[in-house]
Symmetry: C2
Subunit: 250 residues, 2 copies
């Protein structure tokens, strides 16, 4: 179904760098003939996913529906939110939930306290999985071959001086974190940022996501994280798929 692929490619071509495009620009961006690009944009416009004023095409808010349809299918997220709020209040730290997609961590729920990261994190934000605590926790649930495949498919440019960039080192770290049941990542994503994460596991033992608490390195030590944060974080994560709150296993 090449037409479908082309249409989605055009949708995906809109970007922060290219918020609006003319017909020709879109054709060039996705490598289509102008005639084809025009047909694609016309149907996307008719379906309401793209807006046209003048010669400029831009995304319509309509496509948010698609994205949030996904969030609404993950119904553990809305169960997690109140638990996360409680956790954040007790610990006085930001609490987030994320899922793994490829080599990215995608935030799906967030309870912020003070803003500690320079880039504002919100639902939908993507961060490199190998350098984030939630990413490592979720990667640990994959089999070894899969971990290596993803390791090899991503560039491990150091984001801070503390970033682990050695593939074997990362692999070992992921396995070790999986063994111990949690992951603490120190300043690998951004200086001064320290976070601890555990997996959100469903009844079948599959990792559906991860939960973390993040803080500033000057505020909490690694040991405090393990001794104070970890127990409650584990309890919270475990409650999400507690049999008490039965659900039709989405």
């Amino acid at each position: 179904m090449t037409t479908l692929a082309k249409g989605l490619a055009v949708l995906g071509a809109f970007d922060k760098k290219r918020p609006t495009m003319t017909l020709s620009q879109a054709a060039q961006a996705v490598d289509l003939s102008r005639a084809t690009a025009r047909r694609v944009l016309r149907t996307l416009t008719k379906l309401g996913y793209v807006e046209q004023n003048g010669t400029q095409f831009s995304l319509s808010p309509r496509i948010l529906q698609l994205g949030f349809a996904f969030l609404s299918t993950q119904n553990w997220i809305e169960r997690a939110l109140p638990l996360m709020r409680g956790l954040s209040e007790r610990m006085h730290e930001s609490c987030s939930a994320a899922i793994l997609e490829g080599t990215d961590v995608v935030y799906v729920a967030r309870v912020p306290t003070a803003r500690i990261m320079s880039v504002a994190i919100s639902v939908g934000t993507r961060l490199p999985a190998f350098h984030s605590s939630m990413g490592r926790v979720m990667l640990g649930f994959l089999d070894e071959a899969e971990i290596w495949r993803r390791l090899n498919s991503v560039s491990l440019a150091p984001l801070t001086p503390s970033s682990i960039t050695d593939p074997q080192g990362l692999f070992d770290r992921i396995r070790a974190d999986h063994e111990q049941g949690f992951s603490i990542v120190d300043e690998e994503l951004e200086r001064g940022l320290r976070s601890i994460a555990v997996a959100v596991v469903d009844q079948t033992g599959e990792a559906r996501g991860a939960l973390n608490l993040s803080t500033h390195t000057t505020r909490t030590t690694r040991n405090e994280m393990r001794d104070l944060f970890l127990p409650m974080l584990k309890t919270t994560a475990a409650q999400i798929f507690m049999p008490a709150s039965a659900e039709p296993s989405s």
Copy 2:
């Protein structure tokens, strides 16, 4: 381009009610032959927008990228967020930003304080525009014919005893709110909820979105809202498209 339309229809068929579907269910939901549905789902899977395990198909986090591509094209949102945070801190109330899509208001940014609404509002949440303060403010920027068209395309079931359900009454209210430059909505969406909104207008005079402050009816009166909240709300909204922060008019 019927194929593209079918593909997007299938994507849109996934829902909170139907988080996973078999091939046949998808075919039935979108009214396609099973052969076609299978082709669609196969290409969607190959493109990474859909995941298959066993006979069950489900949405992949990949499609979040599409939705957030839109958010990232609206670059006034990230300029608005720090301003909204400041506003929320000063007023001690939740502050939200939304855009209008059809007859829905879609939240695109949010700074929550205490949770006052029963349904948790987050980015991506949709509410009926005619019964929300932000919706009325944005509807006021449309011409009369367009307002009527949208009025007629939606069912105005009362959500609370205070909801305005008379079309003419709603129309008049929207025009009046547009005249005065803001909208206060009292308990029409939910009991105890009072909110005030103003439009976010760009340099060309177009309404790009709306900003609101919401509170509980017992905490702030209508007059206090107008006297205390409105001036700062207007100032904040005006700052978003201030020429100081120049941008390539997305």
